[in-house]
Symmetry: C2
Subunit: 523 residues, 2 copies
């Protein structure tokens, strides 16, 4: 948001894009460029203060930008090559959209005068970008580059945060494009606590009706959770976190707030006959529709919104706690070590061993149901940590998000607790972690199957025949994780027992010069 002198000599469009983005706070660009981005690639060496991080696949770049944006609440840039390059990044942009992460995608395009010839790489970039982009613009002239880029950064950062996509034809990148002095700063609107909503929530809580407070977005900050804990202690309200929060703090004495269950029948039961106060969360709906079960997990009439995503839900909860006269401090969860079993690994044991091993202020990117739920259950008593989850269901998000979080927070240890099937969609993340010497500890749940699909086949009452069953199995051939990791320059180890995992996690934590991968072999 800082502004610099407006008397720069005219620079190229490419440099202007980077300077504008940097002036609005961008310092990192996750890039997988091609021919139409070469001027921007060249301009990265101008003294604009943007660090380039190369990904071997665009989904790594967009997922990393998501992880980065969640941790720092400001946009990273991505640099992508026309429609197909953007297309490869869309799945993780879908997740980022659901996480409301600020990101500014810079997509190079053909020279403006070349587009009408429909050359091989020409495509309808807008149609591809719109479903994931809250803001989209194709630059119409080089002289707009400064203001278009600032508009894109402002759009990305507008509460609650969103994906913005700016398409920059290569000819404009090459033309002179001076900054526009009148548009030096990104102006953001600050949202305030809504007093009327706080009062309404207070009335409901004081009326003695059973209440669930569903926490999302800023309500899952330390401040939000502490305030929610006060309210719960004072009123008996039950607390739930969204099932897949973009970011949540956990452990280190915070209240143990369960995630709303994934399967609708259980979630509906958890919310039945309650007023559901939404604090930074949206109305909860079933992840998938199942015949005979409602999509809305709580009736619309039972919902009461205290704060929307992007609102200061944590302040709203604090105000509510104060108005309720709740005690200033409540006893949080006491940190303790889980007892562990040295025998064959189970998901529960993985969760406990990782919870025990977390150093202060760790970040854990969680993707995959097999070990994800047991870990979150176990981590309430761990040291304070931040959990990042898969918000949009497009799998292949956990490793890139860990990568981006590690770039964003070099002083914090980052873990990726990752299922084997989903890891494959963006496996190239390992290479960038090695290249950037990011000390990420990857824990791969190797059960050699798409366990969620086996569950869903059963739920659908389908008795799988040989072809259907084989579509859920990853055991022929089994993925050799140690070799894959070595292929990308990442040291790897394998654990089959609790004792081994405990030991290997200790060794991995000593390794601070780059990533480590631990394959956790489950049956």
């Amino acid at each position: 948001m800082s502004t610099t002198s407006s008397s720069d000599p005219a620079s190229t469009g490419a440099e202007t894009v980077l300077r504008a983005a940097a002036s609005a706070g961008a310092t990192v660009c996750f890039a997988n460029p091609g021919t139409t981005e070469m001027p921007i690639v060249g301009a990265l060496d101008a003294p604009v203060g943007v660090r380039a991080v190369l990904g071997l696949f665009e989904g790594v770049c967009t997922g990393a930008a998501d992880g980065y944006g969640r941790m720092l609440s400001k946009p990273a840039l991505t640099l992508l090559h026309l429609g197909p390059g953007l297309a490869n990044g869309l799945a993780n942009l879908h997740n980022a959209r659901r996480a409301r992460t600020p990101i500014l995608n810079i997509v190079g395009d053909h020279a403006s005068w070349h587009l009408k010839y429909d050359a091989p790489l020409t495509s309808d970039i807008e149609s591809l970008a719109r479903p994931v982009s809250g803001w989209y613009r194709a630059v119409a002239a080089a002289q707009n580059l400064w203001s278009d880029t600032l508009d894109g950064m402002a759009a990305a950062m507008a509460a609650p945060g969103q994906v913005a996509t700016l398409v920059v034809p290569v000819d404009f990148q090459q033309l002179p494009a001076p900054r526009q002095a009148r548009r030096d700063a990104v102006q953001l609107v600050t949202r305030r606590v809504d007093d009327a909503r706080v009062s309404e929530a207070r009335r409901v809580l004081q009326a003695g009706r059973p209440v669930v407070i569903l926490l999302g977005d800023r309500a899952l900050s330390e401040r939000g959770q502490l305030a929610a804990g006060r309210i719960a202690a004072a009123t008996g309200a039950r607390l739930y976190s969204e099932t897949f929060p973009a970011r949540t703090e956990r452990g280190g004495g915070l209240p143990d707030i369960d995630r709303l269950p994934y399967f609708p029948e259980v979630a509906i039961k958890a919310l039945a006959d309650c007023v559901v106060v939404l604090a930074g969360a949206i109305a909860p709906v079933a992840y998938f529709g199942y015949e005979g079960l409602p999509s809305e997990l709580a009736p619309a009439a039972s919902l009461l919104s205290l704060a929307d995503p992007g609102d200061p839900a944590d302040e709203a909860l604090e105000r509510l706690a104060d108005e309720l006269g709740a005690a200033r401090a409540v006893a949080g969860v006491v940190r303790c070590e889980h007892s562990i079993d040295a025998g064959p690994l189970s998901p529960q044991m993985v969760g406990r061993i990782l919870a025990n091993a977390l150093p202060d202020n760790a970040i854990v990117s969680v993707e995959g149901g097999t070990c994800g739920y047991p870990f979150v259950t176990a981590s309430a008593v761990a040291a304070r940590h931040t959990i990042l989850t898969n918000t949009g269901g497009a799998i292949g998000q956990g490793l890139p998000v860990a990568l981006g979080a590690a770039v964003a927070c070099p002083d914090r240890r980052v873990f990726a607790l990752q299922s084997d099937g989903s890891a494959q969609y963006t496996i190239q993340s390992l290479w960038t972690m090695a290249r950037e010497r990011l000390p990420v500890v990857m824990l791969i749940t190797s059960n050699r199957r798409y366990a969620i699909l086996q569950t869903e086949l059963t739920r659908a009452g389908i008795e799988p025949g040989p072809q259907a069953r084989r579509l859920t199995l990853l055991d022929d051939p089994p993925l050799d994780w140690a070799s894959l990791a070595r292929g990308y320059g990442v040291p790897a180890m394998s654990a089959s027992t609790g004792a081994e995992l405990h030991t290997l996690l200790g060794e991995a934590l000593k390794h601070t010069e780059g990533p480590t991968l631990i394959e956790m072999r489950l049956n």
Copy 2:
């Protein structure tokens, strides 16, 4: 296109989709399914005759369908999970669209009644699909499934072939959905040779003006090339192939038809002052726009179309040769062995060694400029083979296309001549090749850089600084191809010299029970 009895008992929608597709000729489904496709997964074990091939990433599935469709001129199915799953397959669908490959994508969606709740995986599938799909439909009711699927197959197969996308909500997959007897067959329109165009081309050729015939699509079949060779011999017309043909026959006595050069200045020179007769090719345009160079490689006034893509261009060329009174047979290129150098590998030497090693009727999927051009130059004197190239410029296409070609043609040896950078986008292809025991020989050009980007930086007059240069280098860490291959269950070898490559290719060809990877280390 065969039809079976129309007295089947009512089956589920899922089974009806598969039966309809099978009745129109589909026998393979490249699948990466999720929850919303479980009924179709279950139905794959009904006796419908569709083989399921699992990919660990959707781009593998769509690229494989492209390779399959190019070889058999009929659609494979893909089975993809909602918008994000489709999104991961878009880049290779972009290539398939440019190749005019028949493909029918089956995309599962939320239950129709669940869509409006905007659950995490909900997205605008149509907006994502349209840029790559010549035909798109979201199924509106279970009773439409039979006819919608037949329409999709017909659209995919309509000349010249296209990508069709059918979105099937999961509730319709589960409902009873009988076939509709009146819509049992897919009707295709056969295109005919246009006599007037043939006559016009004959007049131009007989007028003695310099002529280039640009061959694409069916003109690159054996029949088309032989006819073009007769015309060239009789008239002095020069022949070029499209720069990136979807499929071309080569070697085994066919004429040596150069590809139109990639860079526009050279291509413009090649076509200057000529009448350009388009035989199954479209008007040639520059791959990228470069300041000061026209986008059109030949002036519009110099173009004469003999046959459009999808027309029987081979027949049109034969008719033209006959009308010109061209000799029935002309001497093709004589098959011979290149002399090879046992020393350090160069791209030229790779091309020659591979050309020497090709058995009869090999298929070679070529992606990457470093070794691709030298191979095509060298392969004119090789045994008869089929070359498949990257038609749309979305990289990560060569390995999946090789996979799909191997599924389509189990009796032919398939090679993938693949650059290291582009191989990474769909590296998961290796696993499916191993799983399906496909004897693909992968030759990875390991030069540890994005060579094309270094070329383009130079062309743009950019002197790269440290960040820009690092964005073109893949050497930190170097990709360890032998380990990556092992990770996916593929035996791997490494060659640094011509002697080694020659020996390893011989060994790889003896291995018929699955894929082999040879890393070719170039400086």
